[in-house]
Symmetry: C2
């Protein structure tokens, strides 16, 4: 129970950036509407709500949560602003309009995320407000605070525990005929996934449905979740993205081969590891995010792999990385020309795939620091699985 | 590994109900846009997609999935319709409009769920379509097919396994001073939750962040997820809602007291169990869902508990149940005047709470059958925890 991930205090969100966005647009307020799966709302409120809509309103430098019924206690505990229960049962867009009116603004421009539910947008427009979408929240989420970094380090430590569990099982497995056997039965992608997920659970984080385990050809299918029995000599690709304290995600990938005879798998592994290190070397404040991708792609090309392969083809079929925070995928993308800043957190995950043979991906989660980068929880890399 | 929950085939969705809705509204098509957290899309497509928007289109009796980039293989595997990759990278609303145009309809009425993202709605309107919201999908989801019932039975069996784990731990715990101790350390709500979640993981289902464990006064806070040490004599309330095969949820609650001295906890338990049985007795085809709630409330009132208490007050503070399917909360609500039909699945979960003392809730997941109801995986009830 030591280092329980949820013993961390919840990060707070400095919502002054919304006031700046409102000033710049000459807008009277900001409204977000969504449910527990809306990560902007989670970031803005730190409220872990239910699977029905609620609303956040910012106006006059103050923050209001129109909380769902039966959640007043939890909202009051988690949200550092005014919890409003007026109109519980009404649509969240209606309640948001009433919360705005309570500030004395009954017309004018209101900023909203572009994905606000259509019915909420219609309710706000009917109440007399004009809507304009803003990227202010996504922009604010790009750079993490120290408290957010602590959450990310902690959940990534859980990802490492899951990976260690998987690597240990692979190292303990024995070859019988054409199959890997572990604890008396055939070892499958599904068995491995369950063991990893159980490790996450005991450590207090959720697998969030993101535990990808591929074997041989299915490694080339980036989101494979089947039940294949594992074979010696083939790639076993694990991509673990648990969700931990206060909704922050980890992300870690490793690829192992039990009883390899070298060949394609070994060459792919060496190339991917070189691409990973080349990409990591690029990361520093002021660097262009797109250069991190270009470095990885160039290194893979140098090893003879197609750096621009399409899905289903042989080569590098995806981008080198994406931001991670309260969403598993957020900014920055390493394909975009974004200037890296201290506090940005993203994955670096080159990979090469061959639908006929297998796939290799290695992934680290990194934070940009004042003078370079920090790998959020180091975990040794190895082609052959090892016990501790 | 026998009876692995994911060895079930995915249910198929008969989407003819959409054609009926289109005919009735004289509409040219139906469009849904969302991401992996949109359960209507999951139901319509059986595609378990990523955390970025994609689109489903129905027109001319045909179904199209505008799949996200990097997901063509998975979409083709999971979706029984046309997978369209045209315009990958464009907003999902734009792609949906283009998919409609490919049917030869470039104007007219399009039905959408009311929560379609606002930007998608705007893209469709700009492309020349008029939008009207429909409840057709939610209505179709009310009655489950046999394949859906199989998924629900299977995940509820996992909920039972989690509950058995929790009950066993409570039964094995020892009283030391004012605390419960298990395996050498104080037993807390968090430790109990982790053990339950690990059991889910090994059984191949996800806790989905829904494992509620309350202790004493925190049982009255319906969504409590703290880290209290458990005390003898107080209520320990477990509400388990794992997500299993093909996205279907289970839902099961029990309340235990270790080393009870009777009193409020015992009286509350007896009342809640009577209310649960009275409510279950009401369930049959043709019955009014609201009567199920009324029966439970009347029984609790007969035992002296306030059947209409507000949140934070002593008594019965919530409804008696909600539908369960690919969403944890869907129709029917047992507060609404809905005529029960065979194939409807919902929780029955009366409870009484006292913020000063504790809370008791007992919950079964039931399906309406041709001549009554089926409890989806029976699990014995007990006030004092027992080992198997």
């Amino acid at each position: 129970m030591r280092d329980a991930p949820d013993s961390l205090p919840a990060p707070t969100t400095d919502r002054a950036f919304l006031d700046d966005a409102l000033d710049a647009a000459d807008a009277v307020g900001f409204v977000a509407v969504g449910d527990r799966f809306d990560d902007d709302l989670r970031y803005l409120t730190r409220f872990d709500g239910p699977d029905r809509d609620y609303a956040f309103v910012r106006a006059d430098g103050e923050s209001v949560l129109c909380a769902p019924g039966l959640f007043e206690e939890q909202a009051t505990r988690e949200f550092d602003g005014t919890v409003r229960m007026d109109g519980v049962g009404d649509p969240a867009g209606v309640r948001a309009a009433e919360a705005l009116a309570a500030f004395g603004v009954d017309a004018g421009l209101v900023l909203v995320p572009q994905s606000i539910p259509h019915d909420a947008a219609v309710h706000l427009e009917r109440a007399g407000y004009d809507l304009r979408s803003t990227t202010a929240v996504a922009d604010a989420r790009l750079v993490k605070t120290d408290a957010e970094l602590d959450c990310l380090r902690r959940v990534q430590r859980a990802a490492v525990r899951g990976m260690r569990r998987a690597e240990t099982i692979l190292a303990e497995s024995r070859v019988e005929g054409d199959e890997l056997v572990w604890e008396g039965g055939p070892l499958s992608t599904e068995r491995l996934r369950r063991q990893v997920n159980a490790e996450f659970a005991v450590y207090g984080v959720r697998d969030a449905g993101n535990t990808v385990v591929g074997a041989g050809p299915t490694c080339a299918d980036l989101h494979y979740t089947g039940t294949d029995v594992l074979h010696p000599g083939e790639t076993v690709l694990l991509d673990l993205s648990p969700r931990g304290p206060h909704g922050y995600y980890g992300d870690l990938s490793r690829t192992y081969v039990v009883d390899s005879d070298g060949g394609w798998e070994r060459r792919a592994y060496v190339a991917v590891e070189a691409a990973l290190d080349a990409a990591l070397d690029e990361i520093a404040p002021g660097a262009d995010a797109a250069d991190v991708h270009r470095e990885a792609a160039a290194e893979l090309a140098a090893y003879g792999f197609d750096p621009n392969a399409d899905e289903g083809e042989a080569g590098f079929t995806h981008g080198t990385g994406h931001g991670v925070g309260v969403s598993l995928h957020e900014g920055p993308s390493l394909r975009d020309p974004v200037e890296l800043e201290p506090g940005m957190v993203f994955t670096v995950e080159p990979g090469v795939y061959d639908p006929e043979r297998g796939g290799v991906r290695l992934e680290e989660l990194v934070a940009v620091t004042d003078d370079g980068h920090e790998v959020l929880h180091e975990y040794p890399r190895s082609f052959a699985p090892r016990t501790e």
